[in-house]
């Protein structure tokens, strides 16, 4: 789960990580008022949950008060990578001596948290890592010990040379790590972390991603969720225990297991079709989940056929068949359904579907080809 810069900065501030003076605005006059309070010049920053807002013109400086409203008006309502800008952060303009990158994330390969820092801050860190890896400092963190003060201090010395600043950096990095652990983050990032003209460290930007798997133990994060940036159907699916992602094709698919669902999509494409979605009905299936899955897929007007591909394990094929029948009973489903159900209780599922108009297949390729053909016929 991603949150906005202004939300991340509020959390930083609570944690004792210094951030610029700033205020959120949702309309130009509000932005002007904020600028008056903060003092000019100010930087106006679009709050959107995608990267690259700077390049898209979503970050602008305003020198004069009369410019604030007009620039705010330009940014608010802007569309950045498909997301509308509805919130703006008005931030004090800080004199910058040096810019750094500081982030903590999980290193999948090493299976532990890593602290990543660089004297090349304010730019795309992935780029820096690829082009000039020697500019990246990477510290492995023993998860049973946490970030150790000496580790943070050594990074601080490398970036800032001066002992006093290294101590300030250490305290900041330790707070950032504590935050990472206590709120179950998958990423915390300060880019850039700046050394101000006044000689202190300040988080000029802030990014926090939470581990979705750990959200259940952080009810405090729910209020931070920006539903406007999520696809409503994806939210509905998630609430029903389904994993759904809308795509642009016309072959709807319901599969159990993420890997098989992706493989099914890939095979649809390979056989000349276009998948309309990714949908994993998940491990513990129930007829109700199938009904919801069908409803979500059918709400997409592009869908011309539904392909159900189930290899039963924890998922029982008879539950899936039951759900299909129930869905057909509850609504008048016009598009053809191709079902391929193998594995746990496949025989019972077969018996249940015997008298229904559902098209059956036993091989995956067969089912996919059939579905692609039906979709083409229907267009």
């Amino acid at each position: 789960m991603k949150i906005h810069e202004y939300q991340a900065k509020a959390i930083f501030s609570d944690t004792g990580i210094p951030v610029p003076r700033e205020k959120l605005a949702t309309a130009p006059p509000e932005a002007k008022k904020a600028a008056e309070e903060i003092g000019l010049p100010v930087v106006l920053k679009a709050q959107v949950l995608v990267g690259g807002r700077g390049k898209a013109g979503g970050v602008k400086k305003a020198e004069k008060l009369e410019d604030v409203e007009s620039i705010a008006g330009q940014i608010l309502g802007m569309n950045i990578k498909g997301l509308e800008v509805t919130k703006l952060l008005v931030s004090e303009c800080v004199a910058i001596k040096a810019e750094f990158y500081l982030g903590i994330t999980i290193d999948r390969a090493r299976r532990k948290p890593v602290l990543i820092a660089s004297a090349a801050g304010g730019v795309d860190i992935e780029e820096v890592a690829k082009k000039t890896p020697e500019k990246i400092i990477k510290i492995e963190i023993n998860p049973l010990l946490g970030l150790l003060p000496f580790q943070a201090r050594n990074v601080g010395m490398a970036l800032l040379s001066e002992a006093k600043l290294a101590t300030e950096f250490t305290s900041l990095a330790l707070k950032l790590y504590r935050l990472f652990i206590q709120r179950d983050c998958s990423l915390v990032e300060i880019n850039p972390l700046v050394l101000t003209g006044g000689g202190t460290l300040l988080a000029l930007d802030a990014k926090i991603n939470f581990d979705d798997n750990a959200l259940f133990r952080h009810p405090e994060n729910e209020s931070l969720r920006d539903l406007s940036s999520e696809e409503p159907k994806e939210i509905e699916a998630k609430n029903a225990g389904l994993s759904y992602i809308k795509l642009s094709g016309n072959v709807g698919c319901i599969v159990n297991g993420a890997g098989l669902a992706m493989a099914t999509m890939d095979l649809i494409k390979r056989f000349g079709g276009e998948p309309a979605n990714f949908l994993d009905v998940g491990g513990s299936s129930s007829p109700e989940k199938m009904v919801t899955a069908m409803r979500i897929i059918l709400s997409d007007p592009s869908v011309r056929v539904i392909l159900v591909n189930i290899f039963g394990g924890i998922t029982r094929c008879d539950d899936i068949a039951q759900g299909l029948i129930q869905a057909k009973n509850e609504a008048d489903i016009k598009v053809p359904i191709v079902a391929r159900l193998v594995g746990t209780n496949a025989d019972r599922a077969c018996a249940l579907l015997a008298d229904s108009p559902v098209l059956s297949a036993t091989k995956m390729s067969e089912a996919v080809k059939l579905a692609v053909a039906r979709a083409k016929e229907a267009e």
Partner: protein, 286 residues
Amino acid sequence: MSILVDKNTRLLVQGITGRDGAFHTRMMKEYGTNVVAGVTPGKGGQEIEGVPVFNSVEQAVKATDANASIIFVPAGFAGDAILEAIFAGIKLVVCVTEGVPTLDAVRAIAVARTHNTRIVGPNCPGVISPGKAKVGIMPASAFQPGCVGVVSRSGTLTYEIAANTGEFGQSTVVGIGGDPVIGTSFIDCLKMFQDDPETKAIVIVGEIGGNDEERAAEFVQQYVTKPVFGFIAGQTAPPDKRMGHAGAIISAGSGTAEEKIRAFQSAGIDIIYEPEQLTERLRAKL
């Protein structure tokens, strides 16, 4: 032989009294797995599917000499369940539970290393050595004793692939799990398969996200002499979207199927694009 599980596996089921725990205990027993004990705190003294239930792993191990454990407890308790198994001396822990917080997995895996315990998963279908033992939730019908080692980040896709090994069957099939942080990597399994005389060919079933496939490819190139086949799911997956598995996400342009396929190809791994192609490819190489 085979890897990880076999006739000597004495299995403990943590969370045996839950719906999934009880159901799969029956399925594993029916398959012939030696399920010796179950654990659910507060339910000690009961029997589930003829298996004695204990209040703690320590008690279960003391009473039954269990040497492997499979975990079905809810996500919030799975990390602690793994640690309980490690502390009780269990050397193989298969964690089926989905949705385990990453930091819990990180911690449990760090402890497992210092105790020489192997963790498979979390969020995995488990391990099966067909005809010997099934420590997982996979449907028995998809597997046949044989000589192909299969290792996969996926669940059902693994069954699909295994079912397509045809007359060659499988020595062992390992579902390593779809989370970003997992206890057993592709490389861990490749080492074991390379050393296992019963395994004649290896299939790696990867997917988008991370770079475990790339590292596996390097390892194959350097150390694996057996024929290796590769399948990568997610060629049509959009970027920055989590595709079901917590670990299956293309972020900042890395972790794409293309990269992984390229890595496999340059390591001499034979790419399978359709699961059903596997049978003929095996015929060609074995």
